[in-house]
Amino acid sequence: MRLAVERWDPGEDQIEVQRAPEPGVAGGAYRAFGETLRGLKTTFARVIEGVHTIQYPEQKVAVYPRFRGRHKLHRFEDSDLEKCVGCSLCAAACPADCIRVVAAENTPELRISAGERYAAVYEINMSRCIFCGYCEVACPFDAITMGHDYELSDYNRGDLIFTKEMLLAEPLDQTPLRAQGE
C-alpha cells in the first residue's frame, strides 16, 4: 500500500533563484580552455626555473634570524648562574598554557639563579606550544628566548615535555640561518 504523500507547500518561504545570463558558445569555450591555459602558465614558468626540492634531512632549510623555534633558557656568561628566577610570568603569558614553573628559594649553599628564587622545575610542553613567542616577551630577565630549531618531532608525547636541563643545554645541531637578503 502506498501512502499518499502530500506535496509540501513552502508557502511564503519560497524563493526565486536568479541566474546569471548564459555565457553563450564563445564564452563557454573561453571558460573551458582560456582559463585553464592561464593557470598552466604558472606551471610552465616553474618548470623552466628548475628543481626546488630540498634533500631534507641531509639538507636543511635556513631560517630567518627572527624565526621562532625551540626555546632556550640562558645563563649569565660570567657567573654561570641561571637567568630565570622562576617568576612564572612566561607561564601567565602563554596562551597555550604549556609552561609549568615551580619555584624554590636560593640558599647561600645552593645558589642557582641571581635572584632570591629560582625555577626548581621548568617545563615546556612542546606538543602544545604554538611558538607565539609571548613567553620571550613576558620574561623580565631575558631568561627565555625563542631559538631557531624546528626539528622537534619525537616518537612519544611524553618526550615532548622539555625539562629545564634540555632547555638550558645547547641544541646538538645548529639550524642554518639565512644571510641578509637571501
Binding site: V85, G86, C87, S88, L89, A91, A92, V101, V102, A103, A104, E105, G115, E116, R117, P140, F141
Partner: protein, 851 residues
C-alpha cells in the same frame, strides 16, 4: 553594648546618588555605588582608621583640601569626586611617592600577581617616576619569625602590621623603629615575632614585605585554585580559603565570616595544612600482624575489621572526636546501635551527661551567637581558656572589650591570657567549675553560698564581687563555658543561666566550648551514650559514657572499641586507665592520621583518616551553625572517604544500606535530626546556617527541673603537696608536631607555679623536676608565672610525652630531677653496699668451711 543601628543617608559620588549607612567610612560607602577608592593602610578589621598612607585622597565639595576617604565618615548630602583633576593628580603623586623607595622586584616577590601595590600603581599611578635617587637598602629577606619573612625594602610603612599587633591580639610586639624616612618594622628588641596569631600579618600586608616562609615561592596566583573550606583543628571552625596547586594544599587564608572568625586565623589553622603531605601521615590501611602494624590493602583491612566487630557484637564501644563530621557521627551511631546492638558511644571525655541536661543546654532560647561576645553587656568566661581551647574567640573577646566596652569577667582555674583585659577575674580549685557555677547562681539569687564556695575553693568576697559585677553589667550576658564545667554536675550551669535570666535575653546566652572540633555536631548526630540523633531517645538504652567505657574495657566486660579520629590515651584524662582498657580490648579499630601513643601500641586495625580539605559533609559550630565541608584537594595516598568506610562496614555486617552519595547522606542526616529539618546543602552554601535560628528548631522542650546541687568535698591543702590542674595548649596537636614549619612550637611538659610555691619548694625557673601523684610520674620544667594561683601546679594535657593525663591528683609532689637522681643514686649505693657486705660474709663463710 547593643549593636549599633545606623540610619541611612544619601550622598553623591562621581555624579551618582548612593545610599549608605550614616557614618560609614567613605572608602567603604563608595563601594556601595560601585566606585573604588584605592587604599593601603585602611582595613576596617583593624579598628579605627589612621590615615597613614594618603592613598585614598578624594575631593569633597565644601572642603578646601583633599580628604582621606578612609577616615572621613559619610554624611547626608555630601558631594564627593574621586576622579576630578585635583584628586587624580594627588593619587598619582601618592603612588609615585610610595614607590620612591620600593625596589619593584615583582618578578622575585611572592606577592606578585595578588599585590595591591601592583594593582593600584597600574590603576591610579602615573606610569612614570621622576625619582632617580638611590633607594634605601636593607638586608633582605630576614626572618621576622620562623614562620614569616620580612623584606623591609618593600615595606610602604602603612602601619597595618603594627596596628594589628597592638589592637587585635594586643601582644604589642611589632613596632615601627626609627623615625621618618628611616622607619622600619620590627620587634623592639629584635626577638622573633612568635605569637599564636602572627600569621595574620602576612595576609594584612598590602605589599610583599611580609611573606609566609612555608608558602614562599610555592606558586603564583594564576597557577592555583582557590577552595573554600573550614579549619577543623579546634571548635572555632574558622572559615578558610585554601590555595591548591597540583592537588596539594599550599596555603590557608581566611574567608572572613563575621559570625565565626571575624576574618582572622590562628597560626595552627594557618600553617598546620602541611601535616597533610608529610610522610608520618597514615595514608593506607594497617593491621596488627604478629604484634606489629603492617600496611595492607583495603579489602584485607576491611575484612579484618568486619570480622572483629562481628565477634565484638554488643560488647563493642565507640568514641569519636577530632574533625569527624556529623554524617560520620550518624553512621557510627547506626553501626553501633542498629548493627552491633550496643549503645556505648561517646564523643567527650568524662562521665555521661544525662539527656535532659543536653536538651536543656541545646535550648535555642539559651543559645548565644559568636558575635554576641562582641556586643553583649558582659561576657563571663567560665572554666575555659579561649586562647587554648578556641583560639579565635580570644581575639573576639578583646575586640568586644576594647571597642564596645563589653565587661569581661573571668572565672577559671588557671590564670588566663585575658586577665589583663578583664574587669574581674577569680580562680577556683582545679576541676571545680560546677561548684563555682552553683556558688555564683546562689550568690545571684541571694541564697547562702558558703558550702558551694568552699567546695569550689574560692573566697566568698571574691564570689560576691563577681556576682555584683555580673548583676550590674546589664541584661545581656554571654557565658562562654568550657564543657569541662559539665563534669561533676551539669545542672550547675543551667542554674547559673537561670539565675541570670539568660533565656529571656536576645543578645545573651550560653556558648559552650567542646573539647573537640565538632563536639557539638557529633553529639547532635547521636554520638552520645544516652541520646540518638537530634538528642532524641536512643534506639537502645543503657549506653555508657567514655569513662565507664574505659572501666568496662579494662575489666573485660566490653571487648571491642571503635575509635573515630580520637586516641583516648592521648586525648582523655586518666591515660593509665585507658592504657589498661586498650591493652585488654581484643579489637581496637581506629580512623587516624597519625600514630599516636595509644594506637601505636594497641590498635588492631587502622584506617587512614581524611583531613578537612579532603572531606565532604557537615559540621556544627558550638553556636549551632551547621557548616558545610567540600572536597578541596584529592585524597593523599590510599585514603578513602571515611563515611564510605563506615558505610562499607555497616553493609558487610548486614546493616541497612547507606545512601550512595555524600549529598544524600547529608540529607538523611537533616531528616534524622529533627532540628536540622529544613536545612539543605545548597541552603548552607558557604556561610552555614544556625539551627537555633530556624523556625523548625523548637523541637526541644523547655521543661527542665532543677535538682539540688551536687557538691563534691572541698579540696584541702596537704603539707608539702600541691593541687594539680591540667590544661591543653593550643599547640598540643599531632598536626602541629608533624608540620615542619610549626614543629618548633610543639609543647614540652612544663609545670606552672606561683612564685610563693616555688620558693617554698626551693625551685627555680626552668629547673627540671619530677611531678608525682604517688604512683605515676611526669617530667617537666618549672615555669614561674606571676598570675598563677598559689597552691596549685598546672601541667599540660595531651602531650605525646609526659602528658599530664596520666596523673590522677588531686595532689602532687614536686621534686627536682637532681634530688630524684641523688635519691636513686643513694638507693643504688646502699644496695651495692649491702650486696658487697653479703658477698663478703659469704666469702668468709666459705673460707671457714674450707678451713
Amino acid at each position: 553594648m547593643p549593636r549599633p543601628q545606623p540610619s541611612e543617608i544619601t550622598f553623591s559620588i562621581d555624579g551618582r546618588e548612593v545610599k549608605a549607612p550614616e557614618d560609614m567610612m567613605l572608602a567603604d560607602a563608595a563601594k556601595l555605588g560601585d566606585i573604588e577608592i584605592p587604599v593601603f593602610c585602611y582595613e576596617p578589621k583593624l579598628g579605627p582608621p589612621v590615615g597613614a598612607c594618603r592613598m585614598c585622597l578624594v575631593e569633597i565639595e565644601g572642603m578646601p583640601k583633599l580628604q582621606t576617604a578612609c577616615s572621613t565618615a559619610v554624611k547626608d548630602g555630601m558631594v564627593v569626586h574621586t576622579r576630578s583633576e585635583r584628586a587624580r593628580v594627588a593619587q598619582e603623586a601618592v603612588v609615585e611617592f610610595l614607590l620612591i623607595n620600593h625596589p619593584l622586584d615583582c618578578p622575585v616577590c611572592d606577592k606578585g600577581g595578588e599585590c595591591p601595590l601592583q594593582d593600584i600603581t597600574f590603576g591610579w599611578g602615573g606610569g612614570k617616576s621622576r625619582f632617580i635617587e638611590p633607594k634605601r637598602h636593607f638586608r633582605k629577606p630576614l626572618e621576622l619569625s620562623p614562620l614569616i619573612a620580612i623584606d623591609r625594602e618593600r615595606c610602604i610603612l602603612c602601619y597595618r602590621c603594627v596596628r594589628y599587633s597592638q589592637e587585635i591580639p594586643e601582644d604589642y610586639q611589632l613596632v615601627l623603629l626609627e623615625r621618618g624616612a628611616e622607619s622600619f618594622v620590627g620587634t623592639f628588641d629584635g626577638h622573633p615575632y612568635v605569637a599564636p596569631f602572627s600569621g595574620n600579618i602576612v595576609e594584612l600586608c598590602p605589599v610583599g614585605a611580609l611573606t609566609s616562609r612555608p608558602y614562599r615561592f610555592r606558586a603564583r596566583p594564576w597557577e592555583i585554585e582557590d577552595a573554600g573550606s573550614i579549619c577543623t583543628l579546634c571548635p572555632a571552625q574558622c572559615n578558610t580559603r585554601l590555595t591548591v596547586r597540583d592537588e596539594r594544599v599550599l596555603r590557608v587564608l581566611d574567608r572572613n565570616h563575621p559570625e565565626v572568625d571575624d576574618g582572622w586565623l590562628c597560626d595552627k589553622g594557618r600553617f598546620a595544612y602541611q601535616a597533610m603531605h608529610v610522610d608520618e601521615r597514615i595514608t593506607s590501611p594497617m593491621i596488627r600482624d604478629g604484634g606489629v602494624l603492617r600496611e595492607v590493602g583495603w579489602d584485607r583491612a576491611l575484612a579484618e575489621a568486619v570480622g572483629a566487630l562481628r565477634r565484638g557484637g554488643s560488647a563493642t564501644a565507640a568514641l569519636a572526636g577530632g574533625g569527624a563530621t556529623n554524617e560520620e557521627g550518624l553512621l557510627l551511631g547506626r553501626l553501633l546501635r542498629e548493627v552491633l546492638g550496643s549503645s556505648h558511644l561517646d564523643s567527650r571525655d568524662g562521665e555521661a551527661v544525662s539527656l535532659p541536661h543536653w536538651r536543656a543546654l541545646a535550648n535555642p532560647k539559651l543559645a548565644a551567637r559568636v558575635s554576641d561576645l562582641e556586643f553583649a553587656h558582659a561576657v563571663l568566661v567560665l572554666d575555659c581558656e579561649p586562647l587554648d581551647d578556641m583560639p579565635i574567640l580570644d581575639l573576639r573577646l578583646r575586640k568586644g572589650a576594647r571597642r564596645n566596652g563589653v565587661k569581661l569577667l573571668i572565672a577559671t582555674e588557671r590564670a588566663s591570657a585575658l586577665d589583663s583585659r578583664a574587669d574581674a577575674a577569680i580562680r577556683f580549685a582545679p576541676g571545680r567549675g560546677a561548684e563555682l557555677a552553683w556558688a555564683l547562681a546562689a550568690a545571684l539569687r541571694g541564697e547562702p553560698v558558703d558550702a558551694a564556695a568552699q567546695a569550689a575553693g574560692i573566697a566568698t568576697d571574691d564570689l560576691h564581687a563577681l556576682a555584683d559585677a555580673l548583676r550590674d553589667a546589664g541584661r545581656e550576658i554571654v557565658i562562654l563555658y568550657g564543657e569541662r564545667v559539665l563534669d561533676g554536675d551539669p545542672g550547675a550551669l543551667l542554674a547559673l543561666a537561670d539565675a541570670l535570666g539568660l533565656a529571656e535575653q536576645d543578645g545573651g546566652g550560653l556558648l559552650g566550648v567542646p573539647a573537640v572540633a565538632n563536639g557539638r555536631g557529633l553529639r547532635e548526630a547521636g554520638v552520645t551514650p544516652n541520646a540518638g540523633p537530634g538528642l532524641g531517645l536512643p534506639a537502645l538504652a543503657g549506653g555508657h559514657g567514655a569513662r565507664e567505657i574505659a572501666r568496662r574495657l579494662a575489666s573485660g566486660e566490653l571487648t571491642a572499641l571503635y575509635l573515630l579520629q580520637v586516641d583516648p590515651v592521648l586525648h582523655y584524662s586518666d591515660a593509665e586507665l585507658w592504657e589498661r582498657a586498650l591493652a585488654r580490648a581484643t579489637t581496637v579499630v581506629a580512623h587516624a592520621s597519625f600514630l599516636t601513643p595509644g594506637l601505636r601500641e594497641h590498635a588492631t586495625v587502622i584506617f587512614p583518616a581524611e583531613t578537612s580539605p579532603e572531606k565532604e559533609g557537615t559540621i556544627t559550630h558550638p553556636d549551632g551553625r551547621v557548616q558545610r565541608l567540600r572536597v578541596a584537594a584529592a585524597h593523599a595516598g590510599d585514603v578513602r572517604a571515611e563515611w564510605r568506610v563506615l558505610a562499607e562496614i555497616i553493609e558487610r555486617l548486614g546493616g541497612a544500606p547507606t545512601p550512595p552519595t555524600a549529598r544524600a547522606l547529608s540529607e538523611a542526616l537533616f531528616e534524622d535530626v529533627p532540628f536540622y529539618g529544613g536545612l539543605t546543602l545548597d541552603g548552607l552554601a558557604g556561610r552555614g546556617l544556625r539551627w537555633p535560628e530556624l523556625q523548625v528548631s523548637n523541637t526541644l522542650s523547655d521543661a527542665y527541673e532543677e535538682a539540688e546541687p551536687k557538691l563534691r568535698k572541698p579540696l584541702r591543702a596537704a603539707k608539702g603537696k600541691l593541687l594539680v590542674g591540667t590544661y591543653r595548649s593550643i599547640w598540643a596537636a599531632p598536626e602541629v608536631a608533624a608540620s615542619p614549619a610549626l614543629a618548633f612550637l610543639t609543647p614540652r611538659q612544663r609545670v606552672e607555679l606561683a612564685a610563693a610555691d616555688a620558693e617554698a619548694l626551693e625551685l627555680r625557673h626552668d629547673e627540671a623536676v619530677v611531678i608525682s601523684d604517688g604512683e605515676r610520674e611526669v617530667r617537666a620544667r618549672v615555669v614561674l608565672r606571676a598570675a598563677a594561683p598559689a597552691g596549685t601546679a598546672f601541667l599540660e594535657r595531651e602531650l605525646e610525652e609526659d602528658g599530664a593525663n596520666v596523673l590522677r591528683g588531686p595532689h602532687v609532689t614536686i621534686r627536682t630531677v637532681a634530688s630524684v637522681e641523688a635519691e636513686a643514686a643513694a638507693l643504688i649505693a646502699a644496695e651495692e653496699a649491702r650486696a658487697a657486705a653479703e658477698t663478703e660474709t659469704l666469702a668468709q663463710a666459705e673460707a671457714e668451711q674450707v678451713t
